[in-house]
Symmetry: C2
Subunit: 595 residues, 2 copies
């Protein structure tokens, strides 16, 4: 057994020497380029001891480095101590990028290796272009870390389950017909799916293979002639296998995808999304095949929710609102009674309240339960080492969500635990103006999200405040809480906003060392009106949870913003109160009272 990190690195170097690989890259991804990889794909953690969610290890004959972003600088420093692995603080001006490092560290004509199954095709091709300047070649055939990792967990074997058509709103065969139509229109003969959420949506399946995303480790292949779901057959009950067959789906073994793809007819035009396909799978496509590289039809279709899915979201958001309401009542009581509540215990309580709701599966991500200055750390998640106790002062930001069979949720609220300062109230009100700015805006059909991002930022910009993350991401239907392809953010994204898209709406502001403020609702794109200038769209707010008005300065809101807030609170009360007891009702009535 290779117990220490230096032993593991040395063993890797021996393997590299044997395979004639001069530098070896170990990224954080799995073969599906997932946000949350299963344990068996945590090679980077095994080789380095670094447990952050993002980071890439590069090992050469005499150097070993970890590239990670500012969220993890401190953690990496601690976890890398004594390992001989150097920390490369990504995105700092003085830090070389991985290609820059490789171009310096390696000689003309040397070789860079990585496991092609856990490296994105787009990324690998970009790397290749950059390294070609020095005639450095790629060797993607070896999983050198996997070969050394003796007690590596197996690929998850959890039973998959069906997303019933009563909740999905569309049968698998209907989805396949639409996908095939779109493939035809674009001149493609088949589609390869590597992204687990696109596969889960297409085949109406869900699972518990990874945390937070209710997906199934699998690959998909769609064509008019044959449609195959490549998945560990032991995970599929006889009933589900039969149902899938009825819908026109053949089951293939998970690992067979590579052989299957390599045997595609040479006159095929293959549709893939290189950004969501691993390099090994991309390389398995016969070279003679033409390739269309774009966002897949499954991904586009998945982003536009049908009436059944939207109904599901509405149900899920009532449940989520009930859990949130009960949570804040509990928190208020605990604090009033002087009971100890920490970031972690609060998050656990909220999880348990969500779990009491019907059709709950799991949380949709690790709650960002952040008190005081922790709130200003954008991607903070509490750990036993950082777990702060909530005191009767300052602000408490809680960003959380649940996976229910009828919908996925994502909500952030910021509340005062003591008497808020004037600055806190001003900051909160500016952020709220941004959230309402998106929620009630009206815009012409056919535009990209970045064009309306500023509705979320105007009040902050006017005060010289900016936040650097996106404003709105897509949200899956009992799928990934962060999904594409659309977004509303400052960065260019050519995907246009369409009715039926469900998204977050989460402007924010962060005062380093003091507090963070974020108010996040879920919104649905819907048609507003049609004029001689064309169709106009707007949003409908789906989330049902009070916004803490103790932090609102009413005079800073316009008449319309104030009306929006009061109407929203009225809706929250009307839809949640029927399922609350008298005490809870009274509490919510007060929290949602008109200002």
């Amino acid at each position: 057994m290779l117990k220490s990190i230096p032993e593991r690195i040395e063993a890797l170097r021996r393997a590299m020497k044997e395979k004639k690989v001069d530098a070896y890259i170990i990224p954080s991804s799995d073969p599906h380029l997932s946000e949350y990889p299963a344990d068996c794909w945590k090679s980077r953690v095994w080789i380095s001891g670094f447990t952050g969610s993002a980071g890439t290890i590069v090992v050469t004959a005499d150097k070993a480095g970890l590239w990670t972003d500012s969220r993890y600088f401190l953690q990496a420093d601690i976890q890398l101590a004594g390992t001989g692995i150097e920390l490369y603080k990504a995105s700092l001006p003085e830090t070389p990028t991985i290609p820059e490092f490789l171009l310096t560290a390696l000689k003309e004509g040397q070789t860079v290796g990585f496991d092609g199954q856990t490296y994105g095709a787009s990324d690998a091709l970009n790397l290749q272009t950059k390294l070609s300047k020095k005639n450095i070649s790629l060797e993607a055939s070896y999983d050198l870390v996997g070969d050394l990792w003796e007690d590596r967990p197996s690929i998850p074997k959890n039973q998959l389950f069906e997303m019933p058509v009563e909740l999905a709103g569309q049968s698998v065969s209907d989805k396949l017909n639409v996908i095939n139509d779109q493939l035809h229109q674009q001149g493609a003969d088949c589609l390869i799916l590597g992204a687990l959420d696109e596969i889960a949506w297409t085949f109406n399946i869900r699972g518990t293979d990874v945390t937070y995303n209710p997906v199934v480790v699998s690959y998909g292949f769609v064509s008019e002639k044959e449609t195959v779901l490549f998945v560990d057959q032991q995970k599929v009950s006889k009933e589900i296998a039969e149902n899938l067959q009825k819908e026109g789906v053949i089951l293939g073994d998970y690992s067979r995808i590579y052989t299957y793809i390599s045997r595609l007819p040479h006159d095929y035009t293959v549709f893939i999304d290189k950004a969501k396909t691993n390099y090994a799978l991309y390389k398995a496509i016969p070279e003679a095949c033409a390739i269309i590289d774009d966002i897949t039809p499954a991904n586009h279709l998945k982003s536009i929710k049908n009436e059944t899915e939207i109904k599901g979201f509405r149900n899920a958001l009532v449940k989520d609102g009930l859990a949130m309401t009960k949570f804040y009542i509990w928190l208020e009581k605990q604090m009033a009674a002087g009971e100890k509540v920490t970031e972690l215990s609060a998050a656990a309580k909220l999880s348990s309240l969500r779990a009491e709701q019907p059709l709950y599966l799991m949380d949709s991500f690790a709650a960002i339960s952040s008190y005081g200055a922790h709130g200003a750390i954008v991607h903070y998640t509490p750990s036993p080492e950082t777990d702060a106790t909530l005191l009767p002062e300052g602000l408490y930001l809680l960003d959380s969500g649940g996976q229910y069979m009828d919908g996925t949720t994502d909500i952030t609220r910021t509340i005062p635990l003591g008497e808020p300062t004037e600055q806190m109230k001003k900051d909160f009100t500016r952020t709220l103006k941004g959230m309402i700015g998106i929620a009630k805006c009206k815009f012409p059909a056919g535009i990209r999200g970045c064009l309306i991002d500023v509705f979320a930022r105007k009040a902050l910009w006017d005060a010289g405040i900016q936040y650097l993350h996106g404003t709105c991401h897509g949200i899956g239907h009992c799928l990934n809480v962060h999904e594409g392809p659309q977004s509303i953010r400052m960065e260019e994204n050519p995907v246009i906003l369409k009715p039926g898209m469900v998204m977050s709406d989460e402007p924010a502001m962060y005062r380093t060392g003091e507090y963070g403020i974020r108010t996040e609702n879920m919104i649905l794109v819907r048609e507003d009106s049609e004029t001689e200038w064309g169709k106009f769209l707007t949003f409908e707010t789906l989330t049902l949870c009070h916004i803490d008005t103790r932090l609102v300065i009413p005079s800073m809101l316009s008449v319309r913003e104030l009306a929006w807030l009061n109407k929203y609170h009225q809706m929250v009360y009307e839809l949640l109160s029927p399922q609350l007891n008298e005490e809870e009702k009274a509490w919510l009535k007060e929290k949602t009272s008109e200002i």
Copy 2:
């Protein structure tokens, strides 16, 4: 002499046959891809009789077609009658694009020809990619129309003149140093300039070779070793030639650029902007040279005005405001006296008033003098056939500008000629809110223009109204009235907004068959403040001309918008009145009085 269009087309077909060209394309551009080509490059007009500003002719053995956009459908229909040339209405779903047409009309392996000197390199390369599907090759060596055109005008021979450093704010040698520094930083050895405004800016020269743009037909070459201005030597006085030499500039003959470029050292990395370089010039670069294709350093530098240029703009805008004020006083009197005023006569009057101002060179574009329903035609310019008489009713939209040695201007105002309707007022006020929305916005440094475009549109979108053109374009300093590389519009443009950029601010709305409304000011990007979130920028309004408050509904403006308008009017009066006579002063005082 080939007198009729059919004769000309037939002669072209004979030439095509001789040169083994199966289809021949005649675009509207000149060798510099200018917005306003000189008469000698109006081959497309000569071959087709179609005089619109945009349009491309394609001729095959049995077909001839004109592709033009919706502005010119009617005009093209009339001008093409009897020519045998078919009108292809560009951008309509049923209309093939030119590449689509060629792929259908031609057989595998045939040849498409055009004059490489008047075809953009980017466009030619895109065409090549598309036609390669059918192995159709490009032949760019022949100017077949030029060979037939017996009385073709010569290339303009007007004397060029200097932009004195007192107005330019930077000497040629300083500009060349900065350009060479930037070329170095990007790893380029030299820069080829084909765009006439980039050349005029770099060499501090101006001319009257074409209408509206005070540029000189020329090419530029910049490197540490040698900098050459390729221009007809007869246009350059001895004094200017000597001055240029002192600044480190060699003069070369206009036509020698091709030979010069073809002899560049093979280890050179050449910087060009393929979108602003003709295909023949691009092809003249030795194949062994590496190419950097991007917006040129000259273009970026030109867009950021120095203090002297900004001072010049301020002077120019006082002069322009005086001309505008006098014009509207004249118009009011003419109308009151029942004198006939038409779109053309009004535009001519305004031109003559501008011409009375010091340092006036020419108008900066053909005035869009549009009365009533003509105002709803976005790119309308009056012609003797359409010239409408102004009546005491409806709206009159006038978009015009001047070229002064100290700055270029661009302004639009819309005024009522009779009692405006409530709808006119509402539309005007919504458009005005957009104009103010841009003028007074604050935004973080480093962002692209498209992110703030919505400030111009929000009030219109809220009413279900949209306009389809951009909101803000760059404006040259005694150069092109439309210049890049920055913009504020819905389309993606990666160029970021920087302090010193001078732009238009022109939201609009158009009611087809009724009227158009546009209010356009010139604005300057400047620093606003610096906070812990970074630098923030804002705009300063440069244009000085009253906005007709008879069309404003004050209650539709926010407190801040109203304050902006009143403050703006106060500034207009303060800066213009010292140069007005008592009668004019009184008139302007009333027009700029507080609402």
